[in-house]
Amino acid sequence: MDKLEKKTNRRDFLFTASYTVGAVGIGAVIWPFVDQMNPDRSVKALATTEVDISQIEPGKSITVLWRGKPVFIKRRTESEILEAQKVNLNELPHPEKDEERVKKSEWLVMLGVCTHLGCVPLADKGEYKGWFCPCHGSHYDTSGRIRKGPAPTNMEIPKYEFVNNNTIKIG
């Protein structure tokens, strides 16, 4: 009886070990087939863009392409800055101070991608004089914060820096 039990245990161990090695092996083979769909090296290489902003008048904005996505660079007027700063944070679905969203209050740099389903919002439209997404009706204010509509969060601020007074490096 003792011998029989030992034999069974040994066989159980072999089964478990074989299944484990087999599962790890299958996983290791599947992973390359899954990971090949992630961004490749050439896509990742396009990570930064430098933009000349000397020609932008107050109240105007330009749109540049970064990683295949539009980036809005808006030179805000005094009244737009004031409006963005005086908003009561309790009114916001995604509370963020305007000061947290800009490096220089005159320049708003953000991804021009609606956080709902990825459309490009239209400038100077909507109930909060900021941006309005025509796809599903999200309204953003002059700081790019979501105020009304289905989008869950404010428009995203990409990593950027002022190289000098006339140039911004995104990414």
Partner: protein, 421 residues
């Protein structure tokens, strides 16, 4: 399914059939006993098979001329339209074929809803059918992206962004689906690859769908179990083949009407503008066959909520055989279900209409009411109705109401106990 097993007449046929019983299969398909009262709503199975084969054949030859690259795709479509011999015809068959495919599949699905074809013992047929339908939507969506027009690009952006609503892993999943940080060339090439693959998976599922159908046999307009073979059945060939062919002919005439006289009526003019990641069209709409689901998505003012309802509205159909527990299959004998069936049709059509309209004001209100009713129908009305509805008496056989005169009430199958006793 005749009583005696099939034996091929020729010596070679017998030799071959003993090794691979293909001739037995073909004899089964010919003799397959079919209810003799099938109406024209039952011809859409054959029509759908025709649609699938048409899409595969036209898709195969279009792929010989199409180039799956973000810089070349749009031009290669115009190349097909202008330079390739009969390219315009092949492309219009393929693009309108998708719409006709969905038209037929919606009729097929609503036929199953009306006559209770999803009920025991046909649940597996229904589930396989729903899987085919879901794959069809995925295939059609990816196919619509391939011309790389504005609607292709922005449709792809909106639909892939649905996955970003998933908490924590959503962003990673969308980046993985895109192969980048936005819809771009890697997205296009993988969509092309999968658009080529999926129809063959559908073909495999269609074979399983028909196999599962041939186990219990066809449902029929009065929805009762019949003896097979009996005086209630006819052999599939030639009775059903000729009826299916006649219906197919009418279907092809309508199909040709679209191809030759209004090939772009179901498309969107914005898709003749090349994809531009900087400009969103003012009004993004999916293809017409996805509009009811799009309306459901937009009816919820919350991103994750909208996505959950969208997927729930599709997957709830998989559970239908267990939501509707009524023993009586056909709506012919369910006077109250019959009314709700038509209300559901109106509801889905209304959702489709508001899905094409801007999401504001009255349209949004209709979309919300429509969405609420859609779920109410499946989750509340059907389970409740199957308990309380007083169904009409069922005939004992298909022939009985014709040959037997008025059936004796005592002989009738009914929910209520026989009162006349």
């Amino acid at each position: 399914m005749s009583d005696t097993p099939y034996v091929p007449s020729s010596k070679f046929g017998k030799w071959f059939n003993d090794r691979l019983p293909l001739l037995t299969l073909s004899a089964h398909l010919q003799d397959y006993p079919t209810p003799k009262n099938l109406n024209y709503w039952w011809t859409f199975g054959g029509i759908l098979t025709f649609c699938l084969v048409t899409q595969i054949v036209t898709g195969l030859v279009l792929a010989m001329h199409y180039v799956a690259h973000a810089d070349l795709a749009f031009d290669s479509i115009e190349h097909i339209m202008r330079d390739v011999n009969y390219g315009w015809l092949l492309r219009y068959i393929h693009s309108n074929g998708a719409s006709m495919f969905f038209l037929a599949v919606y009729i097929h699905i609503f036929r199953a809803l009306f006559y209770g074809s999803y009920k025991s013992p046909r649940e597996v047929i229904w589930i396989i059918g729903m899987l085919i339908y879901i794959l069809m939507m995925a295939t059609a969506f990816m196919g619509y992206v391939l011309p790389w027009g504005q609607m292709s690009f922005w449709g792809a952006t909106v639909i892939t962004n649905l996955f970003s609503a998933i908490p924590f892993v959503g962003e990673g999943i969308t980046t993985w689906l895109w192969g980048g940080y936005s819809v771009d060339n890697p997205t296009l090439t993988r969509f092309f690859s999968l658009h080529y693959l999926f129809p063959f998976i559908i073909l495999g599922l269609v074979i399983l769908h028909i196999w599962a159908l041939h186990v219990p046999g066809n449902n029929n307009p009065i929805g009762i179990d019949i003896k097979k073979p009996s005086k209630d059945t006819v052999p599939f060939h030639p009775y059903i083949t000729i009826k299916d062919l006649f219906a197919l002919l009418i279907f092809i005439i309508i199909f040709s009407g679209f191809i030759f006289f209004s090939p772009n009526v179901m498309g969107h003019p914005d898709n003749y503008i090349q994809a531009n990641p900087l400009i969103t069209p003012t009004h993004i709409v999916p293809e017409w066959y996805l509009l009811p689901f799009y309306a459901i998505l937009r009816s919820v003012p919350d991103k994750l909520g909208g996505v959950i309802l969208l997927f729930a509205s599709i997957f709830i159909l998989l559970a239908l055989p267990w939501l509707d527990k009524s023993k009586v299959r056909s709506a012919v004998f369910r006077p109250i279900y019959r009314i709700f069936f038509w209300v559901l049709i109106i509801d889905v059509l209304a959702l489709g209409y508001v899905g094409a309209m801007p999401a504001e004001g009255l349209y949004l209100l209709i979309a919300r009411v429509g969405t609420a009713y859609y779920f109410l129908h499946f989750l509340v009305i059907l389970p409740f109705l199957s308990r309380v509805e007083k169904t009409d008496p069922l005939p004992l056989s298909i022939s009985e109401p014709v040959f037997g005169g008025m059936p004796k009430p005592a002989m009738m199958k009914s929910d209520k106990k026989n009162k006349n006793e």
